[in-house]
């Protein structure tokens, strides 16, 4: 009986104590440790590269990202072109989209032979830290965005963070090194493709026309950009699409520029403008106005078949441009190279605009000590 009583006491104690343990148990939060260790992983990779190349200049290309193999190839080619243009520099490519990095690393898409393609990409904040830890004496950060919009503002923020040593305590960079970078005016920010409406927009229009003027003889040519939702139209950058269309139309009235996200510039607005110009049938050539041809280009623009057409909601963003124009009485065509639409980085004339931006990048003088004045 005594044993039983002590058993009762034990179970009672358990009943009272078990929940307390639960309440106190930690949530296994490894956030801090993971941040520090990820800096280390990036730092080691860059240090190794720098030790191998013995170069003292770094170029960091920051793209939104993609999971498409043809996009990976476009980034590879871009990197190679940059290495030619900057022989003195180590060139790095990174993705600002976590989801793209995660999915690219587990293999979101297949190559044209059907093989799964897995690629590891880095995150700009960690990679920029690593470039600083390796103490490159000159750093170019080049935005691979098309417009100076929301995505670009994130690139600006990450450079500011870098120059202000805004990292967790265990990952602080050498502040003297950062001061030296500022003093040497050796941190550069390369602007997006359509940065300057006076210079970049006409140049890009000229390059596009050089490639597609033959199509304008045959029908309308519509470019599909991304654009920012109205609420996030940082710097009012959406206006570049309008400016590009105006500039292209000055060359040839058959050019149109629309987006997937910019208010009043969706596919139906593009068609509306075509109709205003009396183009209500005939061929429409569709091109991506994005750095690479990924999901948007393949699905939102070129998507073909019933999956891309919901007749009840014609203007739904799930309905592709291809199906939309075809259902509206046009004959839509998506010109492809090797089975894929092309992204702007794959057009050498356009890539050269980006490279020019890097070469002419200005010292980012606002960056150093701009964020934490007390430091």
């Amino acid at each position: 009986m005594k044993k039983i009583k002590s058993f009762i006491v034990a179970t009672m104690t358990f009943a009272l104590v078990a929940p307390v343990f639960t309440a106190c148990s930690s949530d296994d939060d490894k956030t801090y440790e993971n941040i520090v260790s990820e800096y280390t992983v990036n730092d080691e990779m860059v240090a190794k590269q720098k030790a191998q190349s013995k170069k003292d200049v770094a170029v960091l290309l920051v793209a939104f990202g993609s999971t498409w193999n043809n996009a990976f190839q476009a980034f590879d080619k871009t990197k190679a072109e940059y290495e030619k243009a900057f022989p003195e520099a180590d060139v790095y490519v990174c993705f600002s989209s976590d989801i793209c990095i995660n999915r690219a690393s587990v293999g979101e898409n297949v190559d044209d032979e059907g093989n799964l393609v897995k690629r590891d990409y880095y995150e700009p904040r960690y990679l920029l830290h690593a470039i600083g830890a390796a103490k490159y004496s000159k750093i170019y950060v080049q935005s691979l965005q098309v417009i100076p919009g929301e995505e670009f503002s994130a690139v600006v923020a990450s450079v500011k963070k870098f120059m202000n040593n805004g990292y967790v305590a265990n990952a602080h960079l050498d502040d003297e090194y950062l001061a030296q970078l500022a003093e040497d005016e050796a941190i550069f920010l390369g602007m997006p493709l359509l940065n300057d409406p006076e210079v970049d927009v006409p140049e890009v229009a000229r390059q596009l026309n050089a490639l597609y003027s033959s199509e304008t003889q045959d029908g309308a040519v519509a470019f599909m950009g991304h654009g920012n939702p109205d609420k996030y139209d940082t710097f009012k950058a959406n206006v570049r699409y309008t400016q590009l269309e105006e500039t292209l139309q000055a060359i040839n009235p058959n050019y149109f520029v629309g987006t997937v996200d910019m208010k009043d510039n969706f596919k139906q607005d593009v068609m509306g403008r075509m109709q205003d110009k009396g183009i209500s049938s005939g061929k429409v050539y569709l091109h991506a106005l994005m750095s690479i041809a990924g999901d948007h280009a393949h699905n939102d623009m070129a998507g073909e078949g019933a999956e891309y057409w919901d007749p009840d909601e014609e203007e739904s963003e799930d309905n592709s441009w291809f199906e939309y124009f075809n259902h509206k009485g046009y004959t839509a065509t998506v010109p492809v190279v090797g089975n894929h639409p092309q992204g702007l980085l794959e057009l050498s004339g356009i890539l050269n605009v980006w490279i020019k931006h890097t070469k002419e990048a200005e010292f980012f003088e606002d960056a150093y000590h701009s964020m934490y004045p007390e430091e």
Binding site: L16, T31, I99, V106, G166, Y232, D300
Partner: protein
């Protein structure tokens, strides 16, 4: 020793004999508590109550509460979600259904889905179902209704232990263990359960990235395992005071495919984990009278703490966008940041904690009035570091209620209740409830009207998260501008309960205003700072959805149940439910009101079963249950409708050993989905039913009894049934 043996044998013999009477009179003598909080014979319950008795549960042999409710009633519809069970009752989803275990609400949801794995099917004594917000006692937020799971309690003197192990197709294991003892004033009951299933895949086809892939590894139901331990101690210091303390601890893991080759839909970099815990204490104090007095006034008091935490368990390196909070982050404190999670690590997504205090009393007054009055306070705390703006959110609600049952006239019962709710954000609201019952012989006619009031939950207000469902990615966003939901529930019921035949017809109409649902909104609504990381893979694949008040909704239906005792050993039961729903939603993209059927509802649902049981000899009792349930097409606004289905199952039970023995055994064998019905609709389109086709199962139970046991439920009169206050 011989005396002792003789006594036990005699007692058990009596039990066996009486058990047969119990079977016969089961439906007549069933006692229910859920509708009013006081005990009533089912026949005389003022609030229409549906009961699934232990006898039915035993012969059905269901492996989960989902299987039990969908197989034994026509009121529920289930669809397995990634994270739990999406349940519907009368067309309304989980958040409108109050699930009680012994009168206490279960806690925690993920994406509005309750984890029903918390309910151990082997430990259920009976299930009571009350539709609509008809009970003043349990909160007016039970707009669809209340399911009260009454658990088995082994409070008799002596030691009791059992083990039940059920194994079936898909490596399905359900094990339940009980150890209970009672010495003098103290009794203890410990339960331990394990559940496991490897999951299954009905189709390898999946529509993803605007094409049909044929080698998807997504399962129809994911692999999972869970275990739970619970302990309850009761102490009766005097004849008018009972005290209890209990605690539970629960872990569930859901494993998702790792061998997929299409990361946009079937490769996952993290599994899901849930951790629940609870502790409560309370008691019941009889204010007057002696223990044989059935009309003793009493007070009950309860204090509860519940926790429901939800984690990701990473299975590959995965960048997560995390809100850094804490001094250790220095300048980055308060910033959203990409953090690389490593395989094996866990990260808390949400931790819902709830504290409740309740005090209630039942007072028997002159002229056959029974007053039930109580006060309740509830504090909800949500910790969701990356899923709320500030990392945490909280809410409190207090309530006062009073209910009077007026029983003066034999042919008439009136139960009227008022519940006064005071919520931190939404102020005070009074909700009335009235039920009347007219009796004539074996006929009962009931009319009910109740108002419901449901304030937005902490999650609906503050929670936001990325929800990846196969190839579709949603960003679900809480909305602090929500209004509370209100409802008016009207019902009429006609019931006949004869010795052999029971038949009931119920018509109801539930009108809801300001119903809260996720509605598509422009991506621009995703909170600033989160857009960059969450706009997905560049395809704008992310659909932003925000909790919004829909204009209004209504559900109406007719439920019919029928049961007939054909002969002593043979009974048949059947149920049919007709449901018609409509919700009005303002479509911002089209600037117009749209009328829609509530997602997942079907017009017709039914079930039927035949049960035969016979005692062939004192040491062998055989039982067989053949049952079927079905549903017409289930309607959805997106991703197609769920196909109509009907599923048949058979379960046999074999009770071995004389029940007087210290050890008794039970075997069960069964085949579920006899005709191998499988819905192979491709992912992510809706299935009518997620069954994998024919499955088989077998169960072995062993029960151990030691000591003097007094079975109170031998004499099944209303007065003497020793159900605890549920």
């Amino acid at each position: 020793m011989k005396k002792w043996l003789l006594g036990v044998t005699l007692m058990c013999l009596t039990q066996t004999l009486l058990a047969q009477d119990i079977l016969k009179e089961d439906s007549l003598q069933e006692v229910v508590v859920t509708g009013t909080g006081t005990q009533h014979l089912l026949k005389d319950a003022p609030v229409q109550t549906e009961v699934i008795s232990r006898r039915v549960l035993d012969s059905f042999g269901g492996k989960s509460i989902e299987e039990i409710l969908s197989g034994l009633t026509a009121s529920f519809a289930f669809s397995e979600g990634d994270m739990g069970s999406q349940m519907q009752m009368g067309g309304l989803g989980n958040s409108y259904i109050l699930i009680l275990i012994d009168g206490k609400r279960i806690h925690g949801d993920v994406g509005g889905e309750n984890d029903l794995g918390l309910i151990d099917p082997h430990n259920i004594e009976r299930i009571e179902i009350v539709k609509g917000a008809q009970s003043a006692l349990y909160g007016s937020d039970a707009m669809a209704g209340v399911i009260n799971i009454i658990t088995k309690k082994h409070t008799q003197a002596g030691i009791y232990a059992d083990n039940s192990t059920r194994y079936g197709t898909h490596n399905d294991l359900r094990q339940h263990n009980t150890l209970a003892f009672n010495f003098g004033k103290v009794s203890s009951q410990t339960n331990f359960q394990i559940q496991r299933n490897d999951g299954w895949q009905n189709t390898a086809k999946e529509y993803a990235e605007a094409m049909v892939i044929t080698d998807s590894k997504n399962k129809t139901v994911n692999k999972f395992n869970n275990w739970q331990v619970s302990e309850r101690i009761t102490y009766q210091p005097s004849h008018n005071l009972e005290l209890y303390a209990d605690g539970t601890y629960y872990i569930k893991n859901i494993n998702r495919p790792r061998n997929g080759t299409h990361p946009s839909c079937d490769v996952y970099t993290y599994d899901l984990r849930y951790n629940n815990a609870s502790a409560s204490a309370g008691g019941k104090w009889y204010l007057s009278g002696d223990k044989d007095d059935t009309r003793r006034n009493y007070l009950t008091f309860d204090a509860d703490w519940n926790k429901h935490a939800y984690y990701y368990t990473y299975t590959a390196k995965h960048y997560d966008y995390v809100l850094l909070k804490g001094e250790e982050y220095g300048d980055q404190n308060g910033e959203w940041f990409s953090v690389a999670m490593k395989p094996g690590q866990r990260k808390l997504q949400s931790d819902q904690q709830r504290m409740m205090g309740q005090l209630k009393g039942v007072f028997y007054l002159p002229y056959e009035n029974t007053i039930h009055a109580g006060a309740e306070y509830r504090y909800d705390y949500l910790k969701a570091p990356n899923r709320t703006e500030d990392g945490t959110a909280s809410d409190w609600t207090s309530a006062l209620y009073v209910q009077d049952e007026f029983n003066k006239l034999e042919w008439f019962n009136l139960t009227a209740g008022l519940r006064l709710v005071n919520n931190r954000n939404f102020g005070v609201r009074l909700t009335p409830k009235i039920s009347t019952m007219f009796a004539a012989g074996d006929f009962r006619f009931r009319l009910g009207w109740s108002q419901g009031f449901k304030t937005p939950t902490v999650k609906e207000l503050h929670y936001r998260y990325l929800h990846v469902m196969g190839s579709s990615t949603f960003f679900n966003i809480g909305n602090i501008n929500l209004d509370p939901q209100t409802s008016n529930y009207y019902s009429a019921n006609l019931e006949y309960r004869g010795k052999k035949l029971t038949a009931s017809v119920t018509g109801y109409l539930n009108k809801l205003d300001h119903m809260i649902a996720l509605a598509n909104v422009p991506v621009g609504e995703i909170p600033a700072g989160v857009t960059t990381a969450y706009q997905g893979d560049g395809s704008d694949n992310v659909q932003a959805r925000m909790y919004k008040n829909m204009d209004n909704a209504r559900t109406r239906g007719i439920d019919v149940t029928l049961s007939y005792q054909v002969m002593k050993d043979l009974s048949i039961t059947s149920a049919y439910s007709y449901l018609d729903t409509e919700a009005n939603m303002y479509d911002t993209s089209k600037d117009r009101m749209t009328h829609v059927i509530i997602d997942g509802t079907a017009y017709h649902k039914w079930n039927a079963s035949v049960t035969y049981s016979h005692i062939f000899c004192p040491c062998y009792k055989f039982g067989v249950n053949l049952s079927a349930h079905g549903s017409s097409t289930r309607f959805y606004q997106n991703n197609g409708n769920g196909k109509a289905f009907q599923i048949w199952r058979i379960n046999t039970t074999h009770d071995l050993g004389k029940s007087g023995k210290m050890l008794t055994y039970r075997l069960e064998f069964g085949v579920d989905n006899i005709f191998n019905y499988v819905d192979r609709t491709m992912h992510p389109y809706h299935l009518g039913n997620t069954t994998s086709g024919t499955t088989v199962h077998g169960t072995f139970c062993i029960k151990f009894n030691y000591g003097k046991r007094v079975k109170n439920n031998i004499s099944l009169t209303k007065q003497k049934i020793n159900y605890e206050e549920d």
